[in-house]
């Protein structure tokens, strides 16, 4: 009697567990079916051309892919040093009374709905970007050869740089939380050994702790990238939503893949247009899966593959 209940229960939870992966498979299949007309019509030119014309029914998503990559790179470059710096301070230097409240506050950022970030960005950040940050960058870094190209054009505040900055703030909590976890996971013996050798705290952190935690921090950054890739609302509100040719400047309005879907999905009124938009979703889904898998491998390596004898 009890055995049969056991078996039924096992079968029940197994079914529940299978439901989730099956959902992913079902979503992928549906997206594939819906994007099929665009896949077959445009093939690889979908990824290499920037013309996105719903009137003439010609679709190339290169500008969207470019916008997503640029905003994500900006976000990760800005957020990683801040997150890692904060994590080092909180795990190595901060007084005990400070650690929990600061960590909690930073992680709280993760619970703010993205539309709120968007509103804040459009009313507070964008005017500052336009009037202060962007002219400032133009006057300084903009004067340098090669790099200067990044800061050319009229600062309007609604551009790739603003999109990247909003994303940076949004991925900060996850980056910081993961960095802190992996730094905490570094065995105290690592530090003690360095300090025992007469190293300063800076040397202990940079030579013993950080190398040990590096794969985990990279994993966190990759998860941040995945979040930045898919983030829609806040970026849409500040990125400028205009898919002009790829110019190489951060001061031009851009378009990300997720915001292209959000903006155009509802009014996609012909089959080919609709399927071209679904194809963006397909690309996002695939990238999301790959990036998340990569992050998992990296984080696992940093936490599980401890050197023999290490005390955790």
């Amino acid at each position: 009697m009890t055995r049969s209940i056991d078996r039924a229960f096992a079968a029940g939870v197994a079914a529940l567990a299978m439901l989730v992966p099956l959902t992913l498979v079902a979503i992928t299949i549906l997206i594939l079916i819906d994007s099929w007309p665009a896949l077959t019509t445009f093939g690889l030119s979908y990824f290499s051309t920037t013309e996105w014309d719903p009137v003439k029914l010609v679709f190339g998503a290169a500008a969207y892919v470019y916008g997503t990559l640029v905003t994500t790179i900006v976000a990760v470059l800005l957020a990683t040093p801040i997150a890692v710096g904060a994590a080092i301070y909180l795990t190595e230097f901060a007084p005990r009374a400070v650690r929990a409240p600061v960590a909690f506050t930073i992680e709280l950022l993760a619970y703010i709905p993205s539309i709120v970030y968007g509103l804040w960005a459009i009313f507070v950040m964008v005017p500052v970007m336009r009037a202060v940050v962007e002219p400032g960058l133009q006057a300084t870094l903009g004067q340098l050869p090669v790099i200067g190209k990044l800061f050319s054009g009229t600062p309007i505040g609604l551009d790739l740089l603003s999109g990247g900055v909003v994303l940076a703030i949004m991925i900060l909590p996850i980056l910081m939380a993961i960095s802190r976890e992996v730094l905490l996971a570094v065995p105290p013996t690592q530090r003690e050994a360095m300090i025992g050798l007469g190293a300063t705290r800076w040397e202990a952190v940079s030579r013993a702790v950080l190398p040990y935690a590096r794969p985990g921090i990279i994993g966190g950054a990759v998860l941040g990238i995945a979040r930045a890739f898919g983030e829609t609302m806040a970026v849409t509100m500040v990125v400028g939503n205009s898919s002009r040719d790829i110019s190489g400047s951060l001061f031009v309005p851009g378009y990300t893949m997720a915001s292209a879907i959000a903006n155009q999905f509802v009014e996609a009124d012909s089959e080919l247009y609709f399927s071209a938009i679904v194809e963006i979703a397909l690309v996002l889904l695939l990238v999301g899966i790959v990036v998340n898998a990569l992050a998992r491998v990296l984080i696992r390596r940093s936490i599980a593959d401890r050197p023999a004898g290490a005390v955790v």
């Binding site: 013309e51 996105w52 014309d53 719903p54 009137v55 003439k56 459009i122 964008v126 005017p127 336009r130 009229t154 309007i156 505040g157 609604l158 849409t236 509100m237 400028g240 939503n241 205009s242 002009r244 309005p253 378009y255 915001s259 959000a262 903006n263 155009q264 509802v266 009014e267 996609a268 009124d269 012909s270």
Partner: protein
Amino acid sequence: MKKPLIASMLAFATMLAACGGSPPAASSSPTTGATATGAAADPCGVPVKAKCPAEAQNVTGAGATFPGPLYTKWIDQYLQITGVQINYQAIGSGGGIKGFTDKTVDFGASDVPLTDAQFDAIKEGLYMVPMALGAVVPTYNVPNVTAPIKFTPEALAGIYLEQIKKWNDPKITAENPGVTLPDLAITTVHRSDGSGTTGVFTDYLSKISPDWKTKVGSGTTVNWPGGVGGSGNAGVAGAVKNQPGTIGYVELIYAIQNKLGYGVVKNAAGKYIEASLDSTTKAADGFVSPDFGNLKGQQAKLSITNSTNADAWPISTLTFLLLPKDFSDKAKGLAILRFAWYGTHEGQAFAKDLGYAPLPSAVQKAAEEVLKSITSGGSKLLKVNP
């Protein structure tokens, strides 16, 4: 057999009651009574005056966001009179067309005429019934300019084609003597989300600029030659407000409600016109009824941009309900038709207060004829009470 009997008894009773009050109504009843199954004041007829037991208590529609507030007002009034709950989801014209085609809603709504391909997708056919009018206005941010800037159609097209790049371009200054326009770069702002507002604006630009027509064309989303995209009227207006040198386009009601300044545009008759509800209604004055039974290929007739009327605001539009020619569900059909009748008649009184231009009488007549011709199972649904 029962129904007609009761109906005619009712009719008789109401005729008796009406006798003292309005003889002309009573005298006209025999003519209409011959076609309909018989009544002077059938509660299920129109004008909508009472609860109708034969109509569905719940219907769902979806579509254009622009007429949303007006439809909501009508829905509220209709609920009070009839107890019927109509759910309207303002999800955008494209969504309305899609929902109507897929039959996920009982009726659709759109600011833009369907394309030929969209007409083809609806095998059973549909009617587009005009409900009200709206206008789109150019709004801009040019420091130290207080007088409304005058735009020729060519200047507007040139600006959005990124050919006119500065505010002091001769194509703008020539029409604005006495206004000092600065040597400031123009940044164009457009809707990033697909929108009927964009549909109207690009339809207008396509009509007045061959260059625009071949390079960009018209639609709810187009491949803009440049500029910045903002989401919704608020996104466009926000970008314009924040950034000196910008120009954008928003719905007239949005501009009025938010006290945005907007430009004056030269219409087809060569007159500079200020956008207002009256000049918007004028745009539909020259409305030539298309063959509503077969709208495919007649989109141009449903568009009232660049009206030839001398006092018309040139960037105006009709907003439509999408209704099937023949309702499969009789009860729902009756409720929707009665609601549409209410909107195009009594409902017009609410239009101005909410920032919409009411239909001119010619268009209202056209809408009336269409509503009367809609059937269910082959027989006409709407009875017009005298």
